[in-house]
């Protein structure tokens, strides 16, 4: 047991910091919540350029080889990368599906032609969306009903997807469809690559409670997809729903914890401005938040170091559950500290242009998206603790 990371990490960190100081555009240094862009454009020009710059310098996915936007970084170096980006609040990309989910799946399961689509997905030259959730398949994803029927060298697709991030701007979609309605529900799902300019696709933006509209409903009516666009084997799509950057998975918590730490710093400043910095209840609650974030950081490191040594790291579910729930509590506290002004989002009269109530809204999404807190608890109970299914 020891704290230091070793000398090669020092040099790696210095090289990254020098790169960021030289290349990161000013828009990436505002420390705002990039998970939901409030720009007029869903993916602004600077964000596209920044992603391409990261790719070209091998800083997009450091653990990948240079042709995939990386530099063959070790697991520890990858964690350091995620840590430094998170500490500065610098996003890699404003559209995560392509580099984080689609590219790893294509590289693992795709044909040579499909694998060749990965670099552009990682560089952000192609914007991807993922057609996964449906009105009746949310947490119960395997219950999806969008049908694909093979007809010669094409599939005919009919159905509806929802919560489809970036559907309005995407060129391609990774679409999960039911190809065998008679098989057990996990065994009749396939993955198709859909060109978003194919006839029969109707996209309707879906506005969130915070006013952002980067999600959409996608209606598919007799959409034709070439059989060559099937990824992996027919009816073998379910295991590809788990696809993500496996080598980064053990470090993804860093961003969430860094955001919690920045929120706690923000709460201390807020308490000073609102004249409650000496209120013992406010002080204790903020300190509790600090304690929970700090102990989560320790748990994240523990999970990461066992992962780096080849062990399974069940900490991912713990980290997702705890950091999203704590985030919600902290923003709520920020509103409470402001008393009557808690829900004010007025630029002039609200604190930090409504940072606390608006972030509170965003924090609702974090305990739902990517597996709700209830699903995370089910996963911990059943897969980590070995409790029986109901």
């Amino acid at each position: 047991m020891h704290l230091d990371w070793g000398p090669d990490v020092v040099a790696f960190r210095a090289e990254l910091v020098a790169f960021l100081d030289e290349h990161a555009p000013p828009q990436t240094r505002t420390r705002r919540d990039f998970a939901t862009s409030d720009s007029d454009q869903i993916i602004p020009g600077w964000a596209k350029e920044w992603q391409a710059t990261l790719f070209d310098h091998g800083w997009m996915i450091p653990g990948y080889p240079p042709e995939l936007g990386g530099r063959n970084a070790t697991p520890v170096q990858t964690l350091v990368y995620l840590e430094e980006m998170a500490a500065r609040g610098i996003p890699r990309s404003l559209h995560f599906p392509g580099y984080a989910i689609v590219a790893p799946s294509l590289l693992e399961y795709g044909t040579p032609e499909q694998r060749a689509m990965a670099p552009a997905a990682i560089r952000g030259d192609t914007v991807w969306c993922i057609g996964m959730s449906e009105p009746n398949a949310g947490s119960d994803l395997a219950g999806l009903q969008t049908r694909a029927v093979q007809d010669g060298d094409r599939f005919i697709v009919n159905g509806q997807k929802v919560w489809t991030s970036y559907a309005m701007v995407a060129q391609r979609c990774c679409l999960y469809v039911r190809t065998d309605p008679d098989a057990p529900k996990h065994k009749g799902i396939s993955l198709l690559i859909l060109d978003m300019d194919t006839p029969g696709i109707d996209i309707r933006p879906l506005t969130h409670i915070n006013g952002n509209a980067d999600f959409a409903e996608v209606f598919l009516t007799d959409v034709e997809v070439p059989v060559a666009n099937l990824v992996g084997a027919l009816n073998d799509g379910w295991r590809m729903t788990q696809g993500s950057l496996a080598h980064e998975r053990a470090g993804l918590w860093v961003e969430g914890v860094a955001r919690l730490e920045q929120t706690i710093t923000g709460l201390v400043d807020l308490a000073h401005r609102r004249g409650v910095a000496h209120d013992p209840i406010v002080r204790r609650r903020i300190a509790e938040g600090y304690q929970r974030a700090a102990s989560l950081r320790a748990l994240g490191y523990k999970g990461f170091t066992s992962f780096a040594q080849g062990a399974a790291a069940p900490e991912h579910s713990y980290m997702k559950l705890a950091s999203s729930e704590l985030g919600k509590e902290l923003y709520e506290l920020g509103m409470e500290i402001q008393g009557a002004y808690g829900p004010v989002i007025d630029e002039e009269r609200g604190e930090e242009a409504g940072r606390w109530p608006l972030s509170f809204f965003v924090s609702f999404a974090n305990t739902i998206a990517g597996g709700t807190s209830e699903i995370q608890r089910n996963i911990i109970a059943q897969r980590v603790l070995g409790l029986p299914r109901a």
Binding site: Y290, Q291, R292, N378, A381, L385
Partner: protein
């Protein structure tokens, strides 16, 4: 960074667990409740480990965690985590007899408010094991350390009987042993607090393990109660708190061993996280056990008592949050 135990640490953990599992069953805790000498034989098996008290903190935590999981009723915390490091800090030559297992001791600091802060009060409170150790090291307001043999003591009745606490009257003849600086005393208490947090994680994990096993075997409505989501979610939250606290404790121990500037914060985080884990494990552990957990006959209460008493020793969870707030604001 590396959270894996070294081979030596694994050996320490496994041998401590093996020994305690056999030599410190719940029956011993029950016997000790009525007769404090019931654990004397156990102590003679454990006194070899006293030198851990002045060695690397990670190693000490590994051992304390094992003690916590059986709620060992021995004066290890008082002798190894408090007394030995105080003697070491003041250069007291009697340290050798403590390290070789011949002498035991404890430390008296807190006054009437129960806070471990040097003060001028002659009656010290919350002194662990004061009636069963050879010497009590009383620390006064200036850090002067006086060693007292068999001073007048009065047992403080608490929920827990495994680590008896006492009021000690220190205005009695004793041996002046030297002066401990404020910084040195803070260091001793910082290490002792992390070690106590490690012990609490051991106790919390024991409560959790007992509860998880019970949820898997207890049948109601023809199924194990652990198949119900309401029970599963409680267990998931309990395990999250235990994992979080374990990590915070060893992070703090590594920070202390490395002399890291973050060590004081890390200590507060560790004790508060361990306090939250212990409290939740105690409350939800009982709840999931249902009525049987509320009986003297069942062993659960033995660990529940130790967990709640440890949570209040060397600063409650709330105290440590308040001290963190002083560093944040």
């Amino acid at each position: 960074m590396n959270f894996s135990l070294t081979d030596d640490q694994e050996l320490l953990r496994d041998s401590a667990r093996h020994l305690l599992e056999h030599q410190c069953p719940p029956a011993l805790l029950r016997a000790h409740t009525d007769d404090l000498t019931a654990a004397d034989d156990l102590w003679h098996l454990l006194d070899d480990f006293v030198p851990l008290g002045i060695g690397p903190l990670v190693d000490l935590c590994v051992f304390m965690e094992a003690l916590g999981s059986v709620a060992a009723p021995v004066p290890f915390f008082s002798t190894a985590c408090l007394y030995a490091p105080v003697l070491e800090a003041i250069g007291e030559h009697d340290l050798d007899s403590v390290l070789d297992g011949h002498a035991t001791g404890t430390v008296a600091v807190a006054g009437a408010d129960g806070v471990w802060h040097p003060n001028a009060e002659s009656r010290k409170t919350f002194v662990p094991d004061a009636a069963r150790v050879d010497l009590v090291a009383a620390v006064n307001a200036d850090g002067a350390v006086t060693l007292l043999a068999a001073p007048p003591v009065r047992r403080i009745e608490t929920l827990d009987t495994t680590r008896p606490l006492y009021d000690v009257e220190t205005a009695v003849p004793g041996t002046s042993a030297g002066v401990i600086s404020r910084a040195a005393l803070d260091d001793v208490l910082l290490r002792a607090t992390v070690a106590l947090a490690a012990e609490m994680v051991g106790t919390a994990r024991r409560l959790f393990d007992m509860t998880l096993a019970y949820a898997k075997e207890r049948i109601q409505f023809d199924v194990p109660i652990g198949s119900f989501q309401a029970v599963q979610h409680k267990l998931a939250d309990m395990s999250l708190d235990v994992e979080r606290a374990w990590s915070a404790v060893y992070y703090a121990a590594m920070a202390v061993d490395a002399g890291d500037p973050d060590r004081t914060r890390a200590m507060h985080v560790a004790k508060a996280a361990a306090g939250e884990a212990a409290r939740r494990a105690a409350k939800d552990g009982i709840q999931i056990h249902g009525g049987i957990g509320f009986t003297m006959e069942h062993d659960l209460h033995l660990f529940l008592r130790r967990a709640l008493a440890s949570e209040a020793l060397l600063g409650t969870t709330g105290d440590h949050h308040d001290r963190l707030a002083e560093l944040l604001f």
